[in-house]
């Protein structure tokens, strides 16, 4: 948290500096599929979350035509057209709703945006501060499948692009436990250096590596004694727990992160991300940086998954009730994403009334469609990266992974939690059907309760797909009548 006292002039200079970065570099080609990847005897499963906010243009998002196999025309003309090349590796579950449900339907605090952020990966109600009352799927899975010893497995990589708001839980999709949100990293350099070891004292030879290891062990032994002293000085159980958590986080002295180790770095990506080294929060959060950082974070997520730094990663685009004003890539919107999601000229407007200055934005549906397309191009880039690595079993990393597209809402105009847009890409090693559009619950024209398809069951299905046996995920049944256990057989290959 450095203070920024930059004058407008130097700020502009700073931006020009960012503009000089060439984008679209073939970041990952340089390290794969050699080395560690090829050596993986057994394929590993990865889980990635691609999380957009404020809902989508529901009229042009889902595949066209009937349920069943996706055809050559299914995605053309929809927001998912950029994914057409991966059509055979996609699964579209339709008619899923959030559970616990939106405002006023099930117990819990916060508003629809808060619930959408807090509940989408946790299937938990929010508390009065908008914080989810249980862990999110990425943290649950990382604790089971990530590299590391039990109790100290590596955390998931949680990335975002945009500006945290700092209130009502709107910034968070990930939770390590009830009420404990995990803030995603919005600075690409910090994200990159979280898993590529760039410390100057990094070893470059066996002997030096050994010495660094012994040195860290000595320091750790002393630090442990310091922790023990402190814990014995009459602390509350809460304070002791705080210190235990801390020590657990440092007790490993591993030198190389990622089994890919030193091979898991990439000069071009490093150079591009390094532009943000020492950038202040205010600088990183400028809208002019949004598209640049979005692209970098997608590359970084792909690299982190591919080189096995983490088997679980998330990336979210800004926050519920927020979002940038899209003024790039041939878009030149006047209003930010949240306003457009309501089709209104003000953030406070909701619904269809034009009272109180709540005028409609002419053509807002087309602008939302443009935004959806823009997101899906980023998703396509993520899939393309993951699909370009062939693992020892002959499948690509994407094939052995599951990348889930999800959104805070479905239709933003009414804050809908029904009929959510989902994509499951990659099959998690053959677990899921591929190239299909499957009806799970009601899409339009709500019918009877037999067609209820809660998202907590979808998350539970994914947990099982990743090789972790689970009967139930999310809040207890008492948190909402639509919560369900088990898996969706209709999605399983």
């Amino acid at each position: 948290m450095k203070r920024s006292n930059m004058s407008p002039v130097s700020r502009r200079r700073f931006l020009r500096g960012f503009g000089g970065v060439a984008l679209g570099l073939p970041f990952l080609e340089t390290f794969a599929p050699r080395s560690a990847l090829a050596q993986q005897a057994q394929s590993i499963k990865r889980f990635g979350v691609f999380f957009a906010c404020n809902g989508v243009d529901m009229t042009r998002w889902f595949p066209k035509g009937d349920f069943g196999a996706l055809g050559p025309q299914s995605l053309i003309g929809t927001a998912n057209e950029p994914l057409d090349a991966f059509r055979s590796k996609l699964l579209f579950p339709r008619g899923v709703h959030m559970a616990p449900r939106g405002f006023g339907r099930d117990p819990g605090g916060s508003d629809d945006h808060g619930k959408g952020m807090a509940g989408k990966l946790t299937a938990q109600p929010a508390d009065g501060n908008g914080l989810a009352q249980g862990p999110s799927i990425d943290h649950v899975l990382a604790a089971r499948i990530n590299p590391g010893a039990d109790g100290a497995r590596r955390p998931p990589l949680n990335l975002m692009v945009g500006r945290p708001a700092g209130f009502r839980g709107l910034d968070f999709i990930s939770y390590s436990e009830a009420g404990r949100a995990v803030a995603a990293v919005n600075n690409p350099w910090n994200a990159y250096s979280q898993f590529v070891n760039l410390n100057n004292s990094s070893p470059d030879s066996g002997a030096a590596e050994d010495r660094v290891g012994r040195r860290r062990q000595s320091v750790l032994d002393l630090v442990r004694d310091q922790f023990d002293d402190l814990k014995l000085s009459g602390l509350s159980s809460d304070d002791r727990r705080k210190l235990d958590e801390h020590f657990t986080a440092i007790r490993s002295v591993e030198i190389q992160l990622g089994s890919g180790g030193a091979s898991c770095s990439d000069g071009a990506l490093q150079t591009a991300a390094r532009v943000y080294e020492n950038a202040s929060g205010r600088e990183v959060e400028q809208e002019s940086q949004y598209p640049l950082i979005a692209d970098l974070q997608v590359e970084i997520l792909a690299m982190a998954l591919a080189c096995d730094y983490t088997r679980v990663g998330t990336m979210h685009f800004d926050r519920g009730s927020g979002g940038p004003t899209f003024r790039w890539d041939a878009m030149n919107h006047e209003y930010n994403h949240h306003k457009l999601s309501h089709g209104k000229v003000k953030d406070d407007c909701f619904g269809t009334s034009t009272a109180n200055g709540c005028d409609d934005v002419a053509g807002f549906e087309d602008m939302l469609f443009e935004i959806d397309l823009w997101h899906q191009r980023r998703l396509a880039k993520l899939l393309q990266r993951l699909d370009s690595y062939v693992e020892a079993d002959g499948r690509t990393v994407l094939d052995n992974s599951l990348i889930m597209y999800t959104n805070e809402l479905s239709s933003g105009r009414g804050h809908s939690f029904m009929d959510l847009p989902y994509i499951l890409a990659g099959s998690a090693g053959g677990y899921f059907k591929q190239g299909e559009y499957v009806r799970l619950g009601r899409a339009e024209n709500p019918g009877g309760d037999d067609q209820v398809a809660p998202h907590n069951r979808l998350l539970n299905t994914i947990i099982n797909a990743m090789g972790v046996q689970s009967d139930w995920f999310g809040a207890a049944q008492s948190a909402g009548p639509t919560l369900q256990g088990g898996v969706y057989d209709a999605l399983i290959a």
């Binding site: 508003d111 708001a165 700092g166 968070f172 320091v219 630090v223 402190l230 200055g357 809908s416």
Partner: protein
């Protein structure tokens, strides 16, 4: 939805409507038809308060990232800090009143290690840093012990225990075989620094001395008082003067502490910290949303919102520096502007520097009648009386005002018998329906008081040709107070106990890094009794028996 954070009290809303016997729209109960937020329904059961650990009992408080930065800067005499790479804390609400609940997650733990390794390596390779932390000749036999003792005291903000000294001497000796500088002394220094910067005694503010009991509370020792004062006023570790006083046992009496506070208040760091406090409690985050309509306001300068923010901060800094307090913040008849902002105030000051502009009698008074507040509580063309009024109730008076339910804005306004010309008429009509008046009867009028200012904070007499109406009333200290215009409203606020209580409560939260508990109210009330300057509030707070002690162990 509006963007308030500290009271997302939908539950409170339901309670309020329950009391007033009104019903929410669209409570059809079962799964909705795809417009999920059409309203609340009766099956929403408020959760009981969650069991929360008593945070006033916390004795280990992790340094915030900002405190880590200022602390290593003071420790090593450097300008930069490795904290920029730290995993962000999940801030949700005021950062200052949640700071005693900061944790170290699996991301941050290794980052602390990296930062410690980086700083330690630098400390032995940069002569300036090395000389700052090693104040003796390496060839002297006692130098190792002197270094460990003096650096340890500054890093842990208290003298090392005998056990600790022995521990660090041992690792110093081991350092020679684990370092690579070729200089055994420097290798020793490096590993000691590396270890100390990873110790919880450095990374947390700890208050674990065996305290003397007094009035059911444990007195802090001198070192703990030094740290409390320092992190409260500087947001950093104690300086040499505080350490020296602590060493001499001279931070015991309120008089001794008051002397230090007076000295510290003259430091620029104190001023920065106090400005930052106001930026948080008074919602400067909203400034980033300022986006006036370019057709309506074509001549606005580049970086409009940043300029407004800087001008507001400068005003606060100036008031505090001049010995002012809440009254002056609310009523001082001046503002700051550079040449680009000056036209908003019909002024013609020149240059890029912010300059002070004085106002005529009652024209503008205090923070809330300056362009920054007014523009950050406005839409692109129109004013936003609802948020201006909410600011008065929530941020100036600390009242719990719930958010409107989703769907509130779906309610169409009733048929108007006459054409609507002003924002006030429009809002009055719209919020006069259904359950809305429960809250809006309190919110609207304080907001209307500012209708004499447009969406970018310029004065106006008319809106769409109609004279604006800035009259109204507000409940203050249990009585209804009438006002005609913002000047009278801000004077009434400055006179009220409620505003002083609210402001003082925030300062206590700031000082303690946590929300207040009932046990804090007697101190709050004592501090709020007199309208005083910010500097006096700080001094009286820092010298109070409560601040200089802690909750006793059960």
């Amino acid at each position: 939805m509006n963007d308030r954070h500290h009271m997302g009290a939908l539950l409170g809303f339901l309670a309020a409507t329950a009391c007033s016997g009104t019903e929410l729209p669209g409570s059809e109960g079962e799964l909705p038809d795809g417009s999920g937020g059409s309203g609340g329904s009766a099956n929403m059961e408020p959760e009981g308060p969650r069991e929360v650990a008593d945070r006033s009992a916390t004795r280990v408080v992790r340094l915030s990232h900002a405190q880590y930065a200022s602390t290593v800067q003071e420790l090593f005499g450097i300008e930069d800090s490795p904290d920029g790479a730290f995993a962000p804390d999940a801030l949700n609400g005021f950062s200052f009143n949640t700071s005693n609940d900061l944790r170290v997650d699996p991301r941050l733990g290794p980052q602390y290690r990296n930062a410690a390794e980086e700083l330690a390596e630098r400390a032995v390779n940069d002569e300036e840093l090395f000389e700052r932390i090693v104040d003796c000749d390496a060839s002297d036999a006692g130098c190792k012990g002197d270094f460990i003792e003096s650096f340890g005291e500054r890093a842990f903000r208290r003298p090392l225990t005998q056990t600790e000294s022995t521990r660090f001497e041992a690792i110093f000796d081991a350092g020679a075989s684990l370092g690579d500088s070729g200089d055994e002394f420097r290798d020793g220094v490096q590993i000691v620094v590396e270890a100390m910067l990873q110790a919880p005694q450095f990374l947390y503010r700890t208050e674990v001395s065996r305290g003397t009991l007094e009035g059911g509370r444990e007195l802090l020792d001198d070192w703990e008082v030094a740290s409390r004062l320092s992190y409260f006023i500087y947001d950093s570790m104690p300086d040499e003067e505080l350490f020296s006083r602590a060493r001499q046992g001279q931070l015991r009496t309120p008089e001794q502490v008051a002397g230090q506070v007076a000295r510290m208040l003259d430091d620029a760091r104190a001023s920065d910290k106090f400005v930052s406090f106001h930026e948080q409690v008074w919602q400067f985050g909203r400034y980033s949303k300022i986006s006036p309509d370019a057709d309506t306001y074509p001549d606005l300068p580049e970086g409009f919102s940043d300029r407004l923010r800087d001008a507001s901060s400068r005003f606060i800094e100036s008031v505090i520096g001049d010995g002012g307090g809440l009254r002056e913040l609310l009523t001082a008849p001046y503002a700051f502007a550079d040449a680009e902002l000056a036209p908003l105030y019909d002024s013609n000051v020149r240059g890029d520097e912010l300059q002070r502009i004085e106002f005529e009698d009652g024209e503008r008074k205090g923070f809330m009648m300056q362009a920054g507040f007014l523009a950050s509580n406005a839409y692109s063309v129109k004013t936003d009386p609802i948020h201006r009024g909410l600011f008065v109730l929530r941020d100036m008076l600390c009242r719990e005002v719930p958010d409107p339910p989703p769907g509130a804005q779906m309610t169409p306004p009733p048929e108007a018998t006459e054409p609507i010309e002003t924002t006030r008429e429009e809002i009055t009509l719209l919020t006069g329906q259904l359950y809305c008046p429960t809250c809006h009867s309190q919110i609207n009028e304080p907001g209307f008081a500012f209708e004499g200012f447009d969406a970018i904070g310029q004065t106006r007499e008319r809106e769409n040709g109609v004279l604006v109406d800035t009259t109204g009333s507000i409940q203050l200290d249990g009585e209804s107070v009438e006002f005609a215009g913002a000047s009278e409203l801000v004077e009434a606020l400055a006179d009220s106990s409620e505003a002083r209580d609210c402001y003082t409560s925030r300062w206590l939260e700031f000082a303690y890094g946590r929300p207040l508990t009932d046990a804090d109210l007697s101190l709050r009330d004592r501090l709020a009794r007199e309208p005083e300057s910010v500097q006096e509030i700080i001094t009286r707070l820092a010298t109070s028996p409560e601040f200089l002690s802690r909750k006793a162990v059960e």
